[in-house]
Symmetry: C2
Subunit: 748 residues, 2 copies
Amino acid sequence: MINNHNLNVRGAAISEDDVEKQETRDILFPHQLEDVAQIAVDIGGSLAKVVYFSRTPDSPGGRMNFVKFETQHINDCVDFIHKVLYTGYHGQIPVEKRVIKATGGGAHKYYELFKEKLGVTMQREDEMECLITGLNFLVRQIPYEVFTYDERRAESMQFESTPSELFPYLLVNIGSGVSILKVTSDETYERISGTSLGGGTLWGLLSLLTEAKDYDEMLELSKLGDNKNVDMLVGDIYGGDYPKIGLKGSAIASSFGKVFKTPPEERKSKFKQEDISRSLLYLVSNNIGQIAYLNAQAHGIQRIYFSGFFIRGHPITMNTLSYAINFWSKGKIMAMFLRHEGYLGAMGAFLRHVPQRGRIQSFTENFTRVDKISGSSLGAVGALDEFPTHLTVFPLLADVSRYKPDTTDLKDPKLQQYWIDLLDRNLGDLADMALQWRGNFADTRTRASSFEAMYREHLQALRREPNMYGALTIRSLLDLREQCLREMGFTDIFENVKKQENAAALEGLPKLLKRLDAMEDEGKKLDNLIDNVLAGNMYDWGSTSVQEMLKKGELDFDTAKETVGHPQQFSQLAQLKQRLVEGSPYRKAVIFVDNSGADIILGIIPFARYLLGKGTTVVLAANTSPSVNDITVHELRGILPVIAGFDPVIRSAWAEQRLLALGTGSASPCLDLTRLSDELTTECRDVDFVVVEGMGRAIHTNFYARFRVDSLKIGVFKNPQVAKQLGANMYDAIVLYEVATPGSPKKV
Amino acid sequence: MINNHNLNVRGAAISEDDVEKQETRDILFPHQLEDVAQIAVDIGGSLAKVVYFSRTPDSPGGRMNFVKFETQHINDCVDFIHKVLYTGYHGQIPVEKRVIKATGGGAHKYYELFKEKLGVTMQREDEMECLITGLNFLVRQIPYEVFTYDERRAESMQFESTPSELFPYLLVNIGSGVSILKVTSDETYERISGTSLGGGTLWGLLSLLTEAKDYDEMLELSKLGDNKNVDMLVGDIYGGDYPKIGLKGSAIASSFGKVFKTPPEERKSKFKQEDISRSLLYLVSNNIGQIAYLNAQAHGIQRIYFSGFFIRGHPITMNTLSYAINFWSKGKIMAMFLRHEGYLGAMGAFLRHVPQRGRIQSFTENFTRVDKISGSSLGAVGALDEFPTHLTVFPLLADVSRYKPDTTDLKDPKLQQYWIDLLDRNLGDLADMALQWRGNFADTRTRASSFEAMYREHLQALRREPNMYGALTIRSLLDLREQCLREMGFTDIFENVKKQENAAALEGLPKLLKRLDAMEDEGKKLDNLIDNVLAGNMYDWGSTSVQEMLKKGELDFDTAKETVGHPQQFSQLAQLKQRLVEGSPYRKAVIFVDNSGADIILGIIPFARYLLGKGTTVVLAANTSPSVNDITVHELRGILPVIAGFDPVIRSAWAEQRLLALGTGSASPCLDLTRLSDELTTECRDVDFVVVEGMGRAIHTNFYARFRVDSLKIGVFKNPQVAKQLGANMYDAIVLYEVATPGSPKKV
């Protein structure tokens, strides 16, 4: 395996210990019984990339892992795969019936070696086809996969949304050498060009010209260098610009052009390694950019993706490629980069295992086990955690192409610092909760402190490079914290809190329902229902401020009601009431719920019960897996029968399936409406009223979301910074009721 | 000045001694009185190229000289020009009123230096425009300027004829960096691309990676290397070909891709300088070829010229550029190279001196003073000797685009050896004649032995690289010998022989004319006239065999008649006679004459006199300057009045200008009908009968020439090899009378 200096490119490599611990019996692709695609390998001239699928007992889906090796140490790669295959394997399928997919030049060269040493069937897949399959998958499936880079921008790294029409595009794969593919559909492509001046050239020449021991050291050297000491610039020849042909004095006229002007005896001592590294990096990157552009021009293509381990998220490399494309295309084309730049081929080979009838599941990228980012790299590669269900887009979004889940990108460095600091401060309390969750077992303390250290390290890394894991948002910070907890085995640290709160709230519910049922004025009843939702939403362990109030015993359900403010600009309560009281009842409502306890039981359930009473079918959409104190669909399905036990409205609705509890597919305190479980989106097709509740789902995310049908966003600001940013105060409520104009969805 | 290892690129540099000896007062461009374009300089990032015009007392035209310097030693260049300007200068134009044209980046950078040190006006010219002007001039004016190169062919170097339509073309100028220009007319161009990976890159990197002291040493190293030891080939990755995408196992997948696979401590010792040089040369050349092709493709251009000192006639460089263009264009485009590859810019700047009204004279390339070709270079650059008159195309050629003066290229190595050996053997006799010419002056012996050594050295060089001075032909070998003689001051070594022969022949002419006039049968008279021409043509000092017969006293005019054979396949005598006797007389005939003495006086004059008698105007076209024993127009103009003194036919024709003697513009024993004096071609416009006489003009050259009007090729085979090649015997005659089919010229 690549040494630890190169950790950035290892992706979420599991350590060898992990392999031993893994239940390799579970290394099975769901939907498969045999010939499963556990492992795929892409053996290039310089690097061998491995993608393999694994399962851990505490995760419903599986995990796609990425590891790489130097091809010259191919036996390390073989040994690693051997371990994955044989250690602890007790499944139904004998190893000798396993299949490994292999691609890249080495798939031919090392075919016999792999076959013999591993004792499995090796199936070779065409390299170019794998690259394309891999790219198409990653671009379509992985959020924040694609980005542009330009150091002249305030935000150098900017992520690209997946285009509605992916084809045609140019794929410039930079390995040891460079291949340029023109891809016109999922099935059609042509290798139109290439160049032998690739990563191997840079690496090779710098091996001869510098003392650097590996490629990353060379890239580090290049950061310190100034190519002007080595390259002949236009200004060195012309004494300034050459405007007639559009060349600036600062343009490189001749790479290494200053060297031969130095007397031979001085040459080898005069030129600094740093400057040489910088110059050579410019040379190779510029050249690839130029050849890519010329091919795009010749074929009339507007989209150019760069991939391959040559890039490895290195700012100067990406900036040079971007600059070249921008320069030659006169600003018309932007170079696009991929976070999984090096794994396209291996990923594509992996996907070849899936039979045509099978469906690729959805993945979320998990950065927890990503190793330290090296100084050279901007982007990290996480493991891909498979969701148990396929994720699809919420069908009621007004304009999917313009939908962004996040209300704010944390582009402002001050905001970044505020949020990272906040989460850092909160970390100790969370670690304490983790410790208390299931009692103090042998390794609990170690794991809890590991969690704290792991997340803190990520926060540190994000301070340096905020977009390392994709665009930095409140959602991404919260999700990463959840992932770190799960990764250390803390899959549900709020379990006890939630149980306690749910029990207490359930106790109070009958009285509350009785009081509501007694209200004759429907308007007043609605006021009360909405107040309850807002008050309930304040009970949120995820919010530090609320925690403080709870600890001091200052907060109970009635105080909460009094604390919540109702600024006019965020309240369409009157319109909501008018519609619900006077209008025809909604056919079907979906409510994206938030916390357990008072929130769900004293806030949401009574409101849902009101809708059910009007004849509306109600779908309660809850997290599929635990996340802080959010109610899970599993927990909800435990609570509803209890309520049905004492309330006839809920009982009949639950029995008649007019009241449903469905999992969103998510395990996040936030909500991405483009990635919901199939089951939920199918059920939501005929919904005519969308309710999104809570700070995570209606303020951090979806605040600006627009729907094809009427919608209600409801929740409380529990963070002063977010409140301020949107023009509110702490504990102000939002009751945003929006009526859809049929046929002309509102634009954001 | 560049050291002597680089002599190939110095062109016909005059040595510093020469400069001192020159009559610099004569460094004047004809047609100019002031602001003359004596000197132009193109100062690039690596090299400064100088083109200057000089005159020597023994040449009617001037000479364009080419010299280069390393830009880092720019003071050497300034000193050289200073010497050219000031040494021995006594002309009308004060130095301070002189103008030097300057181009290239350094024209700006070193502007003040030149101005101050030389005390002249410096006029800067745009670099790109100069390149194009230079290329257009050289391609159009210099025979064998353009060639293609492919080492897979039996004849690697093949010369290209000038296309009827030059535009559009791509000019890829490889200096320190590379510029790519799209040229669409003499006036319009665009710099569409370029790359910083140029000559400076190769030179610079090899300076760091090898012990070679200069660029030529690096190129020599590269010849000994094998890039496979450094580069990663497709086969190294795939274990063989990758046919699906059309890559052979031998293709370079990654330049220098094998280096990083070697343990760091071994890298610097393991890789041989030779292999590194070869790999880097491939890298840079391949890359330039590819970028050139991609630009040609994007702009729909079919013709790509490569220029710049990067190439310097180096076989591997040219072959790699050719291979790249051929590979990427799938064989549709050939890379074209220029012998003056490095001097386009300087040449273009030079030509900027010529005012719009002026006309560029014609030049012949003189290789005599070319220095030894270095091991790296295939092509030599000669000085351009200016003809006193502008040269134009003979207007009666049937198809100029298909016309080739030479009957055979000496492509067969055996033929090459035969001719080189023959000329080598004959060289001693010629040197003896040179010694005897004007008596033994102080330096005659030195000059004669210098001539012998110089020509022998050229013959040796041509044995190694036959196409070094353009396509090797009998004509080029003979012309080079004439140039060597002239260069050593032997401008007319046959002067005495010619005088002697002319006097003897003139003595016999009255009797011959009387005998002819007495013949009543016109057919018989014609037989006799033709016999005389053929017999006269045998007296040719240029032919070794004839010399032998003369020496032995075996040959006189009557024996000659008996010796000449008349093979049927080369004789259309009957048709000629029929036409002349029975047909209407020709309006105007041009006779390209050959030797002095019996040939012109006893052979051609009586035949011309016969035509004059029929009412035909006769133009005698003779060499403008001396060449072996060929009659010159100057000598002819001395002889005709003598004949007019005793013959009334000649007297009246000469007086009435129905008999004319015009110079061809040439000083060659052969004849290139595309390069004739303006005066002659203008006079020939209404000619309806073309006669070409002698082995040099009707057999070595023009044997296959076709004309728009009736023509006669007449002469005797005096070389057994040529006779054999064309299916004849020694001393066989050709009397090829061809009647033109009006409107449908015969195709060769």
